[in-house]
Every structure is written in C-alpha cells, then in structure tokens.
C-alpha cells in the first residue's frame, strides 16, 4: 500500500473528530484504539505501517506509540488476513462442547491450518480465546458478529454463504 493512498474518507474523518472529542482536551491519545478499529475496517482488515503512521499523524503522537498498541491487542492484525476470518474459540468451556472437532473440521474443509489463509485469500482460521459466549458453545466470531451453537452442518452453511458473498460482516 503506497503512502499516498492512506487517507480516511470524509465520513471517517468526521467520525475521527467525534471520537477525539469524547476525551478531555490534550488527551487525544485515548482515541487511539477506537481509531485503529476504524482504520482496520477501512484499509483492508489489517494495519500496515503506513496506516499506523497515518493514525499517529492524526492524533499527533509518535508512530512507535501506535505500533506498541497495535501489536499488543489481538484484534489488530499486523499482517494481511483473508476476507472471512473464522475466529473459533477453543478455551475450556467451548472445548467441553466440542470446539476441537469444529476446528478440525474447518481445517479439513478449507485445507488450512490454524493461523493460515486459503490461497484464494477468502478464509483465515484464527483460533481464539474465550469470547464471552461460553453458554452458546461451540462458537466463532465472524466480522462483527458471533456464530453460536456450531455444528458441522452449520459450518458448511457459513462457508457456503461466504463463498456466495452473502455473509454479513458489519
């Protein structure tokens, strides 16, 4: 991504202003995480260095302050990911309800290992830690939403919907 392309839309810039306004004067760094979410949504699902530098400029902080934060939080991707990221929870309560089997099934079905992306750039499998849906296990996060009570059939349907471009992510 060339530097020149990194520019929020007019609408996003208004949102940035509104977000900064939530915090006291001079404390605009507090807006960093919300703005990185916005940036990740807008610039292809991950945070490339020029994107992070751009955000640093907007908030008048040093680029290193942005890198530190972007690498600390698991929701920020510092490498490209597929269009559909299957974040399957594998912590205790989900494991008790068969998350291992769901992960294995997705691996077989998509031919990728955890952490990998399919060659067509469509799917990434990203095992996740407890997402607060333990009573509705097994589950995964897909975009902004949770898919709960997963079964192999449900996984099939989800993959089909994604392939058909009918999966809502936002």
């Amino acid at each position: 991504m060339a530097n020149t392309e990194v520019q929020f839309s007019e609408q996003a810039l208004n949102k940035v202003k509104e977000i900064i306004h939530r915090y006291p004067e001079g404390k605009q760094k507090s807006a960093l995480i919300p703005i990185l979410h916005l940036a990740q949504d807008q610039f292809g699902g991950w945070l490339d260095v020029p994107v992070m530098d751009y955000v640093a400029g907007l908030l008048q902080i040093k680029p290193i302050e942005v890198y530190e934060v972007a690498t600390f939080y698991t929701m920020f991707n510092t490498k490209p990911v597929g269009k559909y990221v299957f974040e399957v929870c594998k912590t205790g309560p989900c494991m008790l309800n068969g998350s291992d089997d769901i992960i294995k099934y997705i691996e077989e079905k998509l031919g990728i290992k955890p952490g990998e992306t399919t060659a067509d750039g469509l799917f990434t499998l990203k095992p996740a830690e407890c997402l607060g849906a333990c009573g509705y296990a097994p589950m995964m996060q897909l975009g902004k939403f949770y898919k709960e009570h997963l079964t192999r059939e449900k996984v099939d349907q989800i993959i089909e919907q994604c392939r058909a471009g009918k999966m809502e992510l936002n």
Partner: protein
C-alpha cells in the same frame, strides 16, 4: 426474586418507550432529588459487593473516592468481561441496555462524574450500537446531556471499545488502555479512587454492580440489604456453561443450593444424557475447581449454597469462590488435565509480560500440562507443575498471576490421580 432481569423478556424492553413504561428511569428521578452523599449512604446500607469478581463493598469504595479541588472525577464501567465462563454482562447490555445507562446516571451523579466511560471488550462489536442507541434515547428524553431534569447536573456517557486483551479487565490495565496505551497493570496503591484515568480520581465498577444501583435506589438500601444471606446481599447473575442441559444467564437468590441450581428444571436442568457431575469451576476460570462431592456439600457435610460465604467455605483446601459467577460444569467424561491445559494456554496468551513469574510461569505451566496431556509427561512433572504455580502466586503486580496459578493448584490437589493416569498410560493419553 428478580431485581435485574425482571423485565428482560418484555417485548421491546431494549428501547426507551417500553423500558420507561415499565418503571424505567424512576431511580434517576428519585436520586437527583437526593444529595450525592445520601446516595452513597444508601449503597453502603445495601451491602452491595462488586460483581466483577473481587466482591469489594461498593459503597465503601465510593466513599474512598478522592475529591481534590478543581480536579474532575470519572466513573468507568468495566464491561471488558473476558474471564472464561463469564458472559453475564453481555446479556445485561444486549437485552437491558437502559438498565445499565440508568445505573450509570445515578452512580455518576453520586460520584460527581460528568464524563463516564463504558469500556467494553472489542469482540462484543455489535453491543456498542445497542448502548449508543440507548444513550441517545436517554438524551432525547432529558436523562442525559446538559442540566438533567433541571438539576444543573451534566453528564455524557461514552462507549469505548477495547481490542482483545483479557488483562484490560483488570482495572488499572483498563485505565492504561483507556488512555490509549498497552494494557499493563499499574502497581496498587494508589488505587484508582485516588489516581485513575488521566491521573484523576476514578471509580471502576462492573456492569452488573452498576445495574444493581437501580433497584437499590428504588427500594432503598436497607430493603435491598435484607434480601440475600449474610454478606451476600441482593441477587447475582450467574452465567452457566459447560455440560448442562440449559446453559445460560440466570439471576439467582443467594439462598439457592448448588445442587438445585444444577439439577432443578427451573435452573440448569441437569447434565446432558444423564451423565454424572465430575467437577465444577463456579466463579470463572480463575477460581479453584472442585470435585462433585465438595461442590454440593462442604467438607463438613453441609449443603453448599450459591453465595460468597458458602462457596468459599473450607478455603482453597476444600472450597472455591463465587468470583465473577462464571459457572463451568464438567461431566464424568471430561478430562480435567485437558481442561486445565486450555486454561493454562489462555493465561499464557493473556499475560501482559511485565512480571517474570507470570510471563515465564504461565508458559511453563502450559508446556508441562501439554506434555502430560499428550502422554509425554513424567511423574516428576506433576511436582514440577505444583512448584511452578506456587512460585507465581503472590509474586506479581496484578492478580492475573494468581488467577493462572490457582486453577492448576486446585486441579492437582483434587485430581492428582488423573494426572498420574496420563503419565502411566501414555498411549491412551495420546488419543
């Protein structure tokens, strides 16, 4: 008796009109006619204990809030909810957003916060929309914004999304994160009540704690305090999961027995396929696991109840804790070693890395557990594991270290034979 979820099933309760029609925002009307100190007094009288897990008396915490001249104070709602097994705050925010907003308005007035923040875990990505809509509705109806109900009190509530870090539920890490930094916990004291966000006096309270302020003001602190048993007053949200017929979020009375909670059809409806209960972690992944016989009865043979005192009866030797109310049930076919291994992985992943006992120890524990689980362990490894967990406990900046150590200690304490079985039967363990 339900104090929080009473109206949860009413059509449209997520929106202002239905919420207001069913008595919503009465506590704001009442509280804004009181003085802030009178509100703090009611909360003290209620005996309410923090629902985030530590159970610290809320009224007392509020009375510790420093009030230096000319320095703004803030209320921050902890909606980071990431403790494995815990999903009660999500339920409250998703289905009763106005209850939280109402509690936040009263609490902000009591504490003198004109800008209050809800720090919500980033993965709950659809919930900020629900909360922001509720905030807007409250504002449109004069309960938020400038000069609320003509009292001169101004309040804005902002939703701040995190980005995936369990440690940001720890209040000082949360504050760092809210300031736009990595979630590294600070050394306490100073407590946030003295030096919190932007070095200003700050109260951090859990979602459920702040929602409970509404019934406390409506019925009066004393009446609330009369509900429950001993120092467990009011009601508690429990999120039940694992091997249960009816997992989900329940509002329980504190005099409910653990056995009824698991088996009664009114609650979790027993264990699927008629299997037997093996073990339970009743308060979120960081509290000790207990075997079935110590779960429904204390070591003295008395019935165990779903409250702070009863669950911790016997200390860590034979008891456990109510914690955050994340109730995880394991049936007879589950492997305690494997379950503990997934939790160890969780803590390793979530350690912020500031303290070496936690950073290194969580990794050690996971690797040893993995070896044992997959049939590559030796008998000495069980003792080594015990040793590693013991060296973490009490030697770290924040309690994440303890939280990682306790489940391992309890698993070995109560299920040592299962660890030994894995060592003795490597071939079977591998499958």
């Amino acid at each position: 008796m339900k104090l929080l979820l009473e109206n949860a099933h009413i059509e449209g309760i997520r929106y202002y009109d239905a919420y207001r029609k069913h008595g919503g925002y009465r506590s704001v009307e009442k509280a804004l006619k009181m003085t802030p100190d009178e509100i703090v007094d009611e909360v003290k009288k209620s005996g309410l204990r923090g629902r985030g897990g530590a159970g610290f008396p809320t009224g007392l915490k509020w009375s510790f809030l420093a009030k230096p001249e000319g320095v703004p104070r803030h209320l921050v709602c902890n909606a980071d909810e990431s403790e494995p097994g815990t999903f009660k705050d999500r339920y409250l925010m998703e289905f009763l957003p106005h209850l939280l907003i109402e509690g936040l308005i009263v609490s902000s007035f009591a504490l003198g916060s004109n800008a209050t923040y809800i720090y919500i875990r980033g993965e709950y990505a659809w919930i900020p929309d629900i909360l922001e809509r509720a905030i807007q509705e409250a504002k449109n109806n004069g309960f938020l914004g400038k000069n609320i109900l003509g009292t001169g009190f101004d309040l804005e509530i902002y939703v701040h999304r995190g980005a995936g870090a369990y440690i940001c539920g720890e209040e000082t890490a949360l504050i760092e994160s809210l300031e736009g930094k990595r979630g590294n916990p600070r050394i306490k004291p100073p407590f946030p009540a003295v030096q919190g966000v932007w070095m200003r006096p700050t109260v951090v309270n859990n979602v459920e704690t702040l929602a409970a302020i509404v019934p406390i003001i409506n019925m009066g602190g004393e009446a609330y305090g009369n509900i429950g048993v001993g120092k467990s007053t009011g009601t508690k949200l429990i999120s039940a999961c694992g091997n249960l017929n009816k997992p989900g979020v329940y509002e329980i009375p504190f005099d409910l027995s653990v056995e009824d909670f698991i088996y009664s059809d009114e609650w979790c409806g027993g264990i699927p396929n008629g299997k037997r209960l093996k073990a339970c972690i009743p308060g979120g992944s960081s509290v000790p696991i207990v075997p079935a016989n110590l779960l429904t009865k204390t070591a003295k043979g008395e019935t165990r109840y779903m409250n702070y005192e009863s669950l911790s009866d016997g200390g860590f030797q034979t008891g456990t804790m109510l914690g955050s109310g994340g109730f995880i049930v394991l049936d007879e076919d589950q492997c305690v070693v494997k379950h503990t291994m997934t939790l160890a992985h969780f803590y390793m992943h979530e350690s912020c890395g500031q303290c070496s006992p936690c950073r290194e120890g969580t990794g050690w524990m996971w690797r040893i557990l993995k070896n044992i689980e997959y049939g590559k362990g030796k008998m000495e490894d069980i003792d080594l594991l015990w040793d590693v967990q013991r060296r973490i406990e009490g030697n770290t900046i924040c309690p994440l270290g303890d939280a990682a150590a306790w489940p391992v200690a309890a698993a070995i304490r109560h299920f040592r034979d299962e660890f030994e079985w894995h060592v003795l039967n490597p071939d079977e363990a591998q499958v």
